[in-house]
Point group: D2
Chain length 229, copies 4
Amino acid sequence: MTNPPNYGSTFHAWRDGAAGVWRDYTHHAFVEGLRSGALPRASFLHYLVQDYVFLVHFSRAWSLAVVKAETLDEMKVCAGTVDALVNHEMALHVRTCAEHGISEDVLFNADEEVANLAYTRFVMDAGLQGDFLDMMAALAPCVMGYGEIGQRLDREGSAGNDYQDWIDTYAGPDYQGLCGAVGAMIDAAVERRVGQNPQTAPRWPQLQARFTKATALEVGFWGMGLNPT
Amino acid sequence: MTNPPNYGSTFHAWRDGAAGVWRDYTHHAFVEGLRSGALPRASFLHYLVQDYVFLVHFSRAWSLAVVKAETLDEMKVCAGTVDALVNHEMALHVRTCAEHGISEDVLFNADEEVANLAYTRFVMDAGLQGDFLDMMAALAPCVMGYGEIGQRLDREGSAGNDYQDWIDTYAGPDYQGLCGAVGAMIDAAVERRVGQNPQTAPRWPQLQARFTKATALEVGFWGMGLNPT
Amino acid sequence: MTNPPNYGSTFHAWRDGAAGVWRDYTHHAFVEGLRSGALPRASFLHYLVQDYVFLVHFSRAWSLAVVKAETLDEMKVCAGTVDALVNHEMALHVRTCAEHGISEDVLFNADEEVANLAYTRFVMDAGLQGDFLDMMAALAPCVMGYGEIGQRLDREGSAGNDYQDWIDTYAGPDYQGLCGAVGAMIDAAVERRVGQNPQTAPRWPQLQARFTKATALEVGFWGMGLNPT
Amino acid sequence: MTNPPNYGSTFHAWRDGAAGVWRDYTHHAFVEGLRSGALPRASFLHYLVQDYVFLVHFSRAWSLAVVKAETLDEMKVCAGTVDALVNHEMALHVRTCAEHGISEDVLFNADEEVANLAYTRFVMDAGLQGDFLDMMAALAPCVMGYGEIGQRLDREGSAGNDYQDWIDTYAGPDYQGLCGAVGAMIDAAVERRVGQNPQTAPRWPQLQARFTKATALEVGFWGMGLNPT
């Protein structure tokens, strides 16, 4: 029950390597507020608006991953993720915000906070500086962290939770399927470029460092959600 | 009947600006061979294999356009084009090549000829050097040129043409709809960045130059198709 | 005496457009601490280590500007700035840190704080998303803000100031010459791409927004300096 | 005497791996014409104008390498190469062309031929798609091939050769020193990312393929020189 989700062996190793930071991220007070339902609505809406802007740039980042892909499968998984983000995940935000009188145009033009832009631009630059794997290491904490949080909150969440819609999105089969597909694709991408024992390869510490830094930036993102400016 | 297709006012202006080169491209001997059906099968297959590799990099280029987009509409049209390329246009190539015993894996790893890579890498670099419009000016000749050729060949093609399948793909409503959507999006992108009289703007000659150079590279691509090495 | 420095008309307009944020940046408590000499040494060293890492990525950013340049003059000014950063400005940091027992290797591998990476990655992504001007709007606050601060502190700084070495670096003729050259190059780049009345051009608000956001990120950088974690 | 120059072990392996294509490049009829002095002046001038445009984009490519660098040494060598290209190697072209009445402005705006742009844009895209090593594999054939050709022609060239100025540039200590520095930096970059037995690493074939393709594009560049359009 406390087992990590099965999103592939590379994710498993990166997650272990990030240890405490990973727990800070996946068990953040913001997440616990979603779980118990005690998260103030204002915090959630603040987060949701910022997360919409985040998803705009995250879609741009996954598009850069298509640019960097070297196999047809990598291209298809990354292009499919762009589609899932632009046409599905963002729809949750648009729908929920619309219920609170916030239009998509307002969302698209919301002022982006530092803790928000720091993560997406870090990912973009990982793609500009490194190769496909450098970018995957920076993208994975968001994709898979949300999958893991969704699964846990689905098991542990309070009944009649105000945030059930959010939990269902990330615990649901579409999103979990995405995490599994991305994880399998990353495993193949690692084997193709680094071989079968990637953790002993010279570049592993650099990949782990990107994953851990990106996870720390996610911690900052939740913190921003908790403290609307 | 000889009117150019209606893919927006920007395309119309760029097409006029490229004049003779545009005609060299859209009335190339290779195209006339498709029209009459006299194109040797070996030339067509050679072209098809190279064009598959072209579409791989062209999909990467449209993905870079998503990275460069600045409005939700720009993102959606470009992401939709990636999807159309990866999941539909390339299917024609895979299907036709399979009929001749060429697998998709062979296609993906075919040796890329100079006239082929010159165009896609020119587009990628236009995106790296310039903004979204610089990239659109380099992408448009391929997207819309094929649309225009498809329309004309559908009107003028020989009955019982061996290449009817190719003609149908580009003359069909899906592809023509894509050209219209891309053209409308480019018009909006130009107005947003350059204003309502873009042809008097300082950067217009540069945009025109990118379109014209890209068109010349398309001429080279047909030439490569005619002369299998 | 309170006139802004003469770094060209584009900078002048952007600076006016950023108004209050520009003042928050150039008159930040950190800056006033440098002026009076009251800034705690620990804050300064913390800032200096982070600023070294900043300069590494800022050099990468100016190199991306060379990639995006479209005239020989743009290439030369940007390449010259990379040289000035890598071979001169960073030397101040290395020298000062060495006096306090911090080696260049430690500097290069220092853990980069969020307020630090947010700015440089924002600049990189401005370059990836937009054209040369989008990147200049994001780069200018750092280059010219330091020039303006250097000039003012040189006039207003306390005698026997502990931070005279820092002030001299940015008030000195080399750095001021760099600001002037960059400013003149930006003016020419704007005229070439947008024309002689750039402030009425459709894209001006976007350029101003990039400049203002980058200035706000500089405010965050000083804040980080004041509060070593 | 027929030994390859000592530009490091990675270059040595890549050169061996390219075999026949490397010989086609370094012993091309154009090169033999430089050696004997029999190359028509018109061909040389045509080449020189195209090579000037090539160097503009090659400088942009080395600047992208600074963006992709991950150590201070990598940054310094790449930034130094940009400086050598912009401020020294291009000067030979400007000087020689000026003697024939061709101004630098004409050079900068010369129409770029397909065989020319194919190589530089291939390099840029290698940088966008891959990491620092992918880019080095694409850059190396030009830098080191010219070094090797310069050395050989210096030994074997006819006395009183009309092209002695060209030969001296590439055989001279400045250029040879650059080749040695780049080669040593590449060796360190390979060890850092792939380890001490890079030729057994999964990504080696891909690196070799980029080097070999880039070499083939250099063959095309000489061919263009021989056949002014």
